[in-house]
């Protein structure tokens, strides 16, 4: 009996991973296990009772309501706090530990480094805050990598596909798959070396190997998020911009 309260979970799991914008809207996110899934569980009731008094906590409360209520409470605590990518901040919400990276400090100019998007990891309150912070920092690292350092709402929405893939690569059913930011971002961008070889090999052996649109990697240039599986459009823009500015400066001199 006694040790259940002292010993952290023996199979470390996260309850939810959320990507929120500055106002606390969920851009992407995933809830795992039975956290906030049944409207009758005690955690859910706590959500409804303390969250929104205007709504009656009745049977027609949907899971989505619970989550929205949870996220509102979360946002109330984290807004205005900016956490550096290597120093995640911790709050507790409804008896859960929530660890987050990113965000904009109150009054900071929106043009600052990084962006207003926060990555939040929610875990049981017995879980080590340090461990959750480690996971969160890893994912935030990967996210800012993928977004070219610009983790604002628009950038993330534009590249939502990458974010979905990132969450999927980072965590499977609550169990952490990979934490390292660099590894995460390269596997989201399919930059697995062996895979490239295998893929290229498949491409050559295939009859229409010459047609670029059929062999995965090369087919991705047309528009959506990435170019050649490497950089996103925005990244390309920024690079172009920097080059141009450099060029202009050289010109002016």
């Amino acid at each position: 009996m006694a040790f259940t309260s002292v010993i952290p979970p023996l199979l470390p799991k996260v309850d939810a991973i959320l990507v929120l914008d500055g106002e606390g809207n969920r851009l992407a996110g995933k809830y795992y296990g039975d956290f906030l899934t049944s409207t009758t569980s005690s955690s859910s009731r706590a959500a409804m009772s303390t969250g929104d008094d205007s709504k009656p906590a009745s049977a027609n409360v949907t899971v989505e309501d619970l989550r929205a209520s949870f996220e509102r409470q979360l946002q109330a605590k984290i807004q205005g706090i900016a956490a550096r990518s290597d120093a995640a901040e911790v709050v507790t919400v409804m008896g859960k530990t929530a660890v987050f990276c990113g965000g904009m400090a109150m009054g900071a100019s929106p043009s600052g480094v990084g962006g207003d998007v926060r990555v939040v990891h929610v875990g049981p309150n017995t879980e080590s805050e340090l461990l959750l912070a480690y996971l969160c920092e890893g994912m935030y690292d990967a996210l800012s990598n993928l977004m070219g350092g610009q983790t604002d709402r628009n950038m993330v929405l534009d590249n939502l596909e990458l974010v979905f893939l990132l969450i999927d690569e980072h965590c499977d059913g609550g169990v952490i798959l990979e934490v390292d930011g660099a590894k995460l971002s390269s596997s989201v961008l399919l930059r697995d070396d062996e895979d490239m070889v295998a893929d290229a090999g498949a491409g050559e052996s295939a009859p229409q190997g010459a047609a670029p649109s059929t062999t995965g990697m090369r087919g991705m240039g047309n528009g959506f998020g990435m170019q050649g599986g490497d950089i996103s459009i925005a990244q390309a823009f920024r690079q172009a911009k920097q080059q141009l500015i450099a060029g202009l400066q050289a010109d002016g001199m």
């Binding site: 952290p8 969920r26 461990l131 995965g216 087919g219």
Partner: protein, 943 residues
């Protein structure tokens, strides 16, 4: 030239903006258009030409599923699902990735039978030579397949676990973990892969090691020996059995895996202590093999270069179940370091740990005081609050004044919930230093008058009230009541006002000069809202009844309220005047003597009803009444309902107040669930007409297993205790797929004379995976004295072989009569005792009298006070009162208050004093009082 270029660039960016506009449409994608776009999935040419379009549609779908109000319904989801399966024909690898992600979302919304069709595509991907496909396909696959398909795929999963690519191996291990947790059939298959898992532990990849560790633990969770061997092997601590070469080879390097190992070790060590293998005087550092090796492992991890690991080890050491400070010492340097870390998470975790540690070792933690004081101003308010709480715990009586000063500044800066936490720790400080309670109560009341939310003020009021109750000093009570009186002078919360007025009514009459409070209460009668006026009248009434001297001055006050405009208030005044008016003729009788009242006229018994407390709490009363309704025939019974014939409801276990007392979910919600479940067992008995005729169930014990949790037939039983019978309810679960059990019963044999088997009810059929009840009834033979006895049990049933697919019997077959041995059932004395709470133990103890008191002294074999207390509570089966179930760590003796009700409604109380001594273990002095000598004896015998 530069201008031209600049223009070009700006134009270019404008175009970019336009593109973005389109993409931003995520903010308002709608379901209909996305579903139309999803139809393109069926068009293989379109898919081939523009896979990125499909990816976008899939992303939109996922986005919708997460954020939109209108989610996909079952039919739409199924349609999209079939569309998505078509996308497998496209070779675009990033599209394929999105397909995997989408499938994981969609499968939940579709019928399992529909979902099955992707299995072949996924199996193909899983066996192809592209790692990223293999890994991802497997992760989707495990969510879809059932155990029969799993056995067909077993080979591939095993290969994947040992695959050289870390990605594939990790995915396979995590998938196995999911499989294991999904169903018991899957679990039994996954168990066979233990060899592969061990192989995966040798991987060089950190994540693979971590996942293999987790899976190993999951599989061997109940196998202590295997876990401890595993931990020892991979921890790299030198033991007698291992050579140094294997030590280095097997040591895990993954920080996450090490964290897991630390937690497993910690659990093993806790179990060593819980199960009494560690002597009370031995240090946990070297008490047993497991402890010694574990402790050394922790020490070595303290020096690990990754801070998470070092901290985890420090945490494990600090939470060891021991009281000796030298055990904790090595961890302190790590904590010192992480307390001043730049990472908020690290500071928070450290302060949280220190806060818990401070309850055990305030001295040790006080060396951190300097660092903690610096943290009070931390930008993360939770850290500040916890530091403050820790400082309060470590502070001495003298430093308290200084602390209070900084708290008052601090409290203005933090959020309400943190204020609540600080108030709670202030309350605890008072209990440690009762002499300071006057200062602290004054301090708290200052905040009552300041601005603040309801929760904060309510907490303060609660704390003050609990201090009044727990510190039985008159001046503390008087002062506290005065502060509360001042508070209600201008309290904006009606709830709080009425509560306080009620409290003043409750405690005021016992105060040294009750007259003081009457003025405050009467002021409320004139100035406040009707609700408050009404409660003030009630409070005045209690004053008038309990303090005869004041009666003459209160009567005019009450009379002046007769003209109140509110009905309720007026009613109460009239009632009060009638009560007091009748009563005032006999002013000199001792009003507190309720027993005397009962013998007097009927009017005074009304006074008694109105002023004395309920014999049980409201919650229990509600539960009890609900249980009463369920009893067949109870609602039609002629006899009037009274407290004595209400069924006894076991009170919820006292809420364990943890040392740190923070960050816990509000327990009331949890309790509610428990209580609802607790009522269920007896209802099962009432539902069966044959059993219902035996009468009312006095108590239903908790279910006890009589088989291993993993055996073919899982049996647990519940003892329902009735006045002259015991009904044993057996819950039998059939876990064999190709069998159906019929006519299931449990045969019992006993040599006890007090009870004999008089009947049984069979469970007709139990098909695979189901659980049914069968019952056996024992009748009490009143001639024989009762003694605890055991029953040999055997499960009897007829087996019918069935086809696992259809669940139908396979043609003609011989009916096999089978028997399956169960563990012995035991009936204890404690089964006849229901845990009931008493509102006021001291009063109950005195009122029950010592006519049937039995005193006895025992030497207990238990090594620690902790385990002795648990054992005593278990043995007696009674409810702990006044929070005495919680033992102060490190104390040399413990006072335990227990209450219960014996079969037939006989109240039993017990006071136990448990003292530890080095030579003989622990000594128990017990005093039992009850309404019957026989029962007292019976209870004593259960020890």
């Amino acid at each position: 030239m530069a201008d031209d270029l600049l223009k070009e660039v700006t134009d270019f960016f404008k175009d970019g903006e336009k593109d973005k506009k389109i993409e931003k449409s995520f903010a308002n994608v709608n379901k209909a258009s996305t579903l139309i776009a999803a139809r393109d999935f069926h068009d293989s040419i379109k898919v081939k030409e523009d896979p990125s379009n499909c990816r976008r549609t899939l992303t939109q779908l996922l986005h919708l599923q997460q954020n939109a109000v209108e989610k996909l319904n079952h039919i739409e989801a199924t349609e999209v699902f079939f569309g998505v399966t078509k996308l497998f024909f496209c070779k675009d690898s990033s599209l394929r990735r999105m397909v995997y992600v989408a499938l994981k979302e969609l499968y939940k919304l579709c019928d399992p039978s529909d979902v099955i069709i992707v299995t072949s595509c996924l199996t193909k991907d899983m066996t192809c030579n592209i790692d990223i496909y293999r890994a991802n396909a497997l992760r989707v696959l495990v969510r879809i397949i059932d155990s029969s398909m799993l056995s067909a795929l077993e080979r591939y999963v095993k290969q994947a676990i040992m695959h050289k690519s870390p990605l594939v191996a990790s995915s396979a291990l995590v998938s196995s973990l999911q499989l294991y947790q999904k169903s018991t059939e899957n679990a039994s298959i996954v168990k066979r892969w233990i060899g592969e898992v061990n192989e995966a532990m040798k991987s060089n990849d950190a994540m693979v090691q971590f996942h293999a560790t987790e899976l190993f633990y999951q599989i061997k969770e109940n196998d202590r020996l295997a876990i401890s061997k595993f931990v020892q092997k991979h921890s790299g601590v030198i033991t007698n059995g291992s050579s140094s070469a294997s030590r280095i080879k097997d040591r895990v390097r993954s920080p996450l895996a090490i964290i897991c190992l630390i937690r497993y070790t910690s659990k093993l060590m806790h179990e060593e202590v819980m199960e009494g293998r560690v002597a009370s005087d031995a240090s946990i550092m070297n008490a047993t093999e497991i402890c010694a090796v574990g402790y050394r492992y922790f020490e070595s991890c303290l020096r690990h270069e990754v801070d998470i690991v070092a901290f985890e080890a420090a945490k494990a050491i600090c939470t060891l179940p021991t009281t000796s400070p030298e055990v904790v010492l090595p961890a302190l340097s790590v904590l010192q370091l992480s307390l001043s870390s730049t990472k908020p998470a690290s500071r928070l975790a450290t302060v949280k740990l220190l806060c818990g540690l401070a309850s055990l070792h305030p001295r040790l933690v006080s060396r951190f005081n300097e660092g903690l004081e610096a943290l009070i101003g931390d930008p993360n308010r939770l850290i500040g609050t916890l530091s403050m709480m820790t400082l309060l715990k470590t502070g001495t009586e003298n430093s308290l004044d200084r602390l209070l000063k900084s708290i008052s500044n601090f409290l203005y800066q933090i959020a309400e919930e943190y204020k609540v936490m600080v108030v709670h720790s202030l309350e605890r400080v008072c209990l440690t230093y009762p002499t300071k309670s006057r200062i602290v109560i004054g301090f708290l009341s200052k905040f009552l008058r300041d601005e603040g939310g309801f929760l904060f003020k309510k907490t303060i009021v609660k704390s003050i009230v609990s201090l009044i109750q727990k510190i039985p000093e008159d001046d503390v009570r008087d002062i506290a009541l005065l502060y509360l009186c001042e508070f209600i002078e201008d309290c904006e919360f009606v709830n709080l006002s009425t509560e306080i007025i009620h409290l003043i009514g409750q405690y005021g009459p016992q105060a040294s000069s009750p007259a003081r409070y009457v003025r405050f209460v009467y002021n409320r009668c004139i100035l406040e809202k009707s609700v408050i006026r009404a409660s003030a009248i009630s409070a005045l009434t209690t004053f008038a009844i309990e303090c005869p001297d004041l009666r003459h001055s209160i009567l005019p006050l009450l009379k002046s309220c007769l003209t109140d405009e509110d009905d309720e208030t007026r009613d109460r005044v009239v009632l009060a005047l009638n009560l007091i008016g009748e009563d005032s003729t006999e002013t000199n009788t001792d009003e507190k003597d309720y027993d005397a009242h009962d013998k007097q006229s009927e009017e005074t018994s009304i006074v008694h009803v109105l002023t004395s407390k309920l014999p049980m709490s409201f919650d229990n009363l509600a539960l009890s009444l609900k249980a009463y309704q369920k009893i067949p025939g109870a609602m039609e019974a002629i006899e009037p309902l009274s407290f004595d014939n209400l069924p006894i409801v076991e009170g919820p276990d006292e809420i364990e107040s943890k040392g740190s007392g923070i960050l816990e979910e509000s327990p009331s919600n949890l309790l509610e669930d428990d209580n609802i479940k607790k009522l269920d067992p007896a209802a099962a008995v009432y539902a069966i007409p044959e059993l219902a005729s035996f009468g009312r169930v006095f108590k239903s014990c908790n279910p006890i297993p009589v088989t291993e949790a993993e055996s073919e037939y899982v049996v647990t039983y519940i003892k329902h205790i009735l006045d002259n019978f015991i009904i044993l309810q057996f819950m039998v679960q059939n876990t064999i797929e190709d069998q159906r059990l019929e006519n299931v019963s449990v045969a019992l044999q006993t040599d006890s004379a007090a009870y004999e088997v008089v009947g049984e009810i069979e469970a007709k059929t139990i098909s695979y995976g189901h659980s049914e009840n069968c019952y056996t009834v024992l009748e009490r033979n009143l001639q024989e004295p009762f003694e605890p006895f055991a029953l040999a049990a055997e499960l009897k049933f007829t087996v019918i072989q069935v086809d696992p697919e259809t669940g139908e019997g396979e043609g003609d077959q011989d009916l096999l009569e089978e028997e399956y041995p169960l563990e012995d059932l035991e009936i204890f004395n404690s089964d006849f005792v229901a845990k009931t709470t008493v509102v006021d133990f001291r009063k109950a103890w005195e009122s029950i009298g010592n006519t049937n008191e039995i005193l006895q002294k025992f030497g207990l074999g238990d090594k620690t006070i902790q385990s002795a207390t648990i054992a005593v509570v278990d043995c007696l089966g009674m409810q702990t009162c006044d929070g005495t179930g919680q033992i102060k760590p490190g104390s040399k003796q413990h006072m335990l208050h227990l209450s219960g009700t014996y079969l037939g409604g006989v109240k039993v109380l017990a006071r136990c004093q448990i003292a530890g001594s080095k030579d003989v273990g622990t000594i128990l002095k017990i005093a039992i009082r009850s309404e019957s000598k026989e029962v007292s004896k019976q209870i004593l015998e259960s020890l």
